[in-house]
Symmetry: C2
Subunit: 497 residues, 2 copies
């Protein structure tokens, strides 16, 4: 339906159409004027082509041409089955190109900047960040890194700075298989676990597919599957109820299960051996692939965790994701994935589209550091240092009055302290004060697919040297106390003050 | 329609359905048996649910359950509006998980392994490759690289090995803006130009959108836009007819134009200044954004090329892509993109999904090499060396009898010799012989969207040291001569011999 009121709104209600220029141009210009003046707001839905054609007594082709003209200029966008919507105002002179209207439908699902903001804070010297997950870097084996680099360059400068295979350099694939299990041809070298998630989402998830994820679970995974158009269903990791999972699978027929069963991000929880066996058997029986994110396995603080799902899997049902970001350094941007050959093949084809191969020199250096034992010596140092940092952070939080305000379970691996606020306090309220204290953490909501987690927050203890824990804990507790005071104060009063 | 013949083919034609187990399981198992034995081949279309339900006299829900069961196990896949197809055979025991059937519809568009194969050859010591594009690497400024690295680590080890912002480290964005023009906030640091193409395709191209590309044009770009579901239309770069382009735009309403106007890959052609002005004005008038791939700009062999489209653009209609892969080293995996801020913002959100940031240390090193002049000194050396290699390759091809068999235009920039075979000879026929000679080039077809180019081939001269040009040219001409002899020989004879 398109009545006179609507025609007037479109700027097309005043008299007959002109005969001197193409009618479609006249219509397009009238609508453009409406967009420019703001009469037609962003997301305003234009009349259906058929209806507008009827109301103006022109052919439908004329309206199609007018809408196309507007679409070409980025001012409107048509969506099959939904209609045509105003997508951008013409920009002010000097930047006349309405770029926003050109953005593809799938890309606009990527509007969550959580990871980017994490990284921005992590690199901002004016903010004390316990948001991004980073191991201790102060003891990074710089000399070994430099020696490995020199050897690599001396061995083959053309290889070091030249092209390499998409799957990864053989020397690194072999070192990974030897150190972490599996065969070199099952290994795909990546720019980090996040790239693996993105490739897997692109490879396996069609829009509308269901994916079962940890609840709470790694925010980057939730974000990536979301952006792929998946419907996310959370499996409660702390309750670890296998019947619940079987129900979820039967009910939603998920395309895959994403889980981080070892020193889980964010909770620090580790799945017991028996449950690992049961989960594997359930997934094999119901034929649902598992993506096992094993990022934190090596970062135990007391005893090594149970074996990975991947190492127990006899049915090739598990894809294993790992990274050097936490067990060595995030700045290296190297990770890997182990899977059955048909999946490695398909993922390599997808990877070459965006990122044909990882830097060869970086791969050669890391391979060398694994083979010559630097990687494992550094890991042992990291475990000691992380234990010290965990205890320092917990001690400092307690000294600054966390009791009765902030609770946690002491983690025995991973990089995080997963905290729960007492009473009615929300992490978002604490965050407002934290920004004033120049300290950044991650709010619990980011880890849930269902708007839960508002009283939880994640602190990365491993990135804070022990001698700085006191300052960080002090800022955090000042933020908690500030938020508590707001709660106690009637909000009108706050507004006046 | 589903008749008796089809029921028999499905293994469901022999008598009444059993009463002892769920009917849907019986149906699923019958179809699975058919898939296992090969009676139902890959891509076989199962009857519509409604039809099979009617033929078997069961409810449609039963068929839906049976098909879902098969789909969950990766054996069939349903596509809305098209039907349900056999997607994989159950794998042999030991690898029981039918992964192939799990691959998403969009991912299967990525089946072109051309780039991956290029890279594989480039890193394979048993093959002499003039396929992948690489600058001379033998003179890479290793000492300056090491010195820059030491300075970066000494300055800030936590930054060097830690997290960084998605858009790139400020120090590199500033160095790029200063050296190549523009402002730091218009720069997005990438893993190479290919990542920029992928991000742009994901950001701007909806399946079904048209993209105008150079004809012939960079194969990675064709591949990426193809994989994004675009319809590709070629604009003939050698004819450079602006009326033709205007026709293409009016006819196909493309979402964008991709062009590589300076020492074009593969032809070496450079767009004259006047045509650049006309192209810009056309694109602004018709509101079609241009992606300008400026990868080879710095690699002129005689005189500098005309200014980039991007530097002449007053309407923000051009997105500029560039990389350090050709002007420094491909193994660094660093490139960048310059665009209007709304596009940088959207691309950074997309990038964080797969590749949250580039390695900080590598960024710090390259920034340092730009600022201290190493980059430009190395470029001057590269130009001299590439001139020498171009002349050596051309001389060697001529000595080995290229006249009358292989023609080219001498390039005055870029890395490639774009060759045309004489007579009826096809590059695919030459390639067969080239593999026996252990030499790899790229066939012309890879650069065309329309199956043309079968008599053309691309040789990267810059990766071959002058003293090895003779050997490479000898192998190439032996392959050409071998293919010519085949042509002269009736094919029956070849089969007998």
């Amino acid at each position: 339906m398109c009545d006179d009121t609507q025609l007037r709104l479109l700027g097309l209600g005043d008299g007959p159409l002109p005969k001197t220029r193409p009618v479609y141009r006249h219509i397009a210009q009238a609508i453009e004027r409406g967009i420019t003046t703001g009469a037609l707001a962003l997301d305003f839905r234009l009349p259906a082509e058929r209806d507008l054609a009827g109301a103006l007594k022109v052919s439908r082709t004329t309206i199609v041409s007018a809408y196309r003209d507007l679409e070409t200029r980025g001012l409107v966008r048509g969506y099959v089955g939904r209609g045509t919507f105003v997508s951008a105002a013409p920009e002010a002179s000097g930047a006349p190109f309405a770029w926003r209207g050109k953005v593809a439908a799938a890309a606009s699902r990527s509007s969550d900047g959580a990871i980017r903001d994490l990284l921005r804070h992590a690199a901002d010297p004016s903010v004390v960040s316990v948001a991004a997950g980073s191991p201790a870097l102060e003891g990074f084996p710089v000399d070994a890194y430099r020696r490995s680099m020199d050897r690599a360059i001396k061995r083959d400068v053309r290889l070091a700075f030249g092209h390499g295979p998409t799957e990864g350099l053989p020397v690194l694939r072999e070192a990974i298989a030897h150190r972490f299990g599996g065969q070199p041809h099952n290994v795909l070298v990546l720019a980090g676990a996040q790239q693996g998630l993105d490739l897997l989402a692109r490879c396996l998830v069609d829009p509308g597919d269901t994916v079962v994820v940890d609840r709470p679970g790694y925010l980057g995974a939730l974000h990536t599957f979301n952006a792929a158009g998946a419907r996310l269903v959370g499996w409660d990791v702390m309750r670890h109820d296998l019947d619940e999972l079987e129900d979820l699978i039967t009910r939603y027929r998920p395309k895959l299960i994403y889980t981080n069963p070892t020193f889980q991000n964010p909770t620090g929880w580790t799945m017991p051996l028996k449950l690992r066996r049961q989960l594997l058997s359930l997934a094999s029986r119901l034929r649902v692939p598992i993506i096992e994110d094993d990022t934190y396995r090596e970062l135990f603080l007391n005893t090594p965790p149970p074996p990975s799902l991947h190492s127990m899997d006899t049915q090739s049902v598990v894809i294993h994701l790992n990274t050097f970001s936490k067990a060595l350094a995030p700045g290296l941007r190297l990770g890997w994935l182990s899977a059955a050959p048909p999946i490695i093949e398909q993922l390599a084809l997808l990877k070459q589209r965006s990122d044909p191969h990882m830097p060869n020199l970086n791969q050669m250096i890391v391979a060398e550091m694994i083979v010559d034992g630097t990687f494992d010596r550094n890991l042992a140092d990291l475990r000691t240092e992380h234990r010290r940092r965990r205890d320092a952070m917990i001690g400092a939080l307690e000294r600054h009055g966390a009791a009765g305000k902030l609770q946690w379970t002491v983690p025995d691996g991973g990089l995080y302290l997963w905290c729960r606020l007492s009473g009615r306090l929300k992490a978002s309220q604490v965050q407002t004060h934290a920004l004033a204290e120049s300290v950044a953490f991650v709010r619990g909501e980011a880890f849930y697919v269902d708007q839960a987690g508002e009283r939880e927050l994640r602190i990365c203890y491993s990135s804070v040297p022990a001698n700085r824990a006191d300052d960080v804990a002090n800022r955090i507790m000042r933020a908690v106390n500030g938020a508590k005071r707001d709660l106690a104060t009637p909000s009108q009063l706050v507004a006046i003050v």
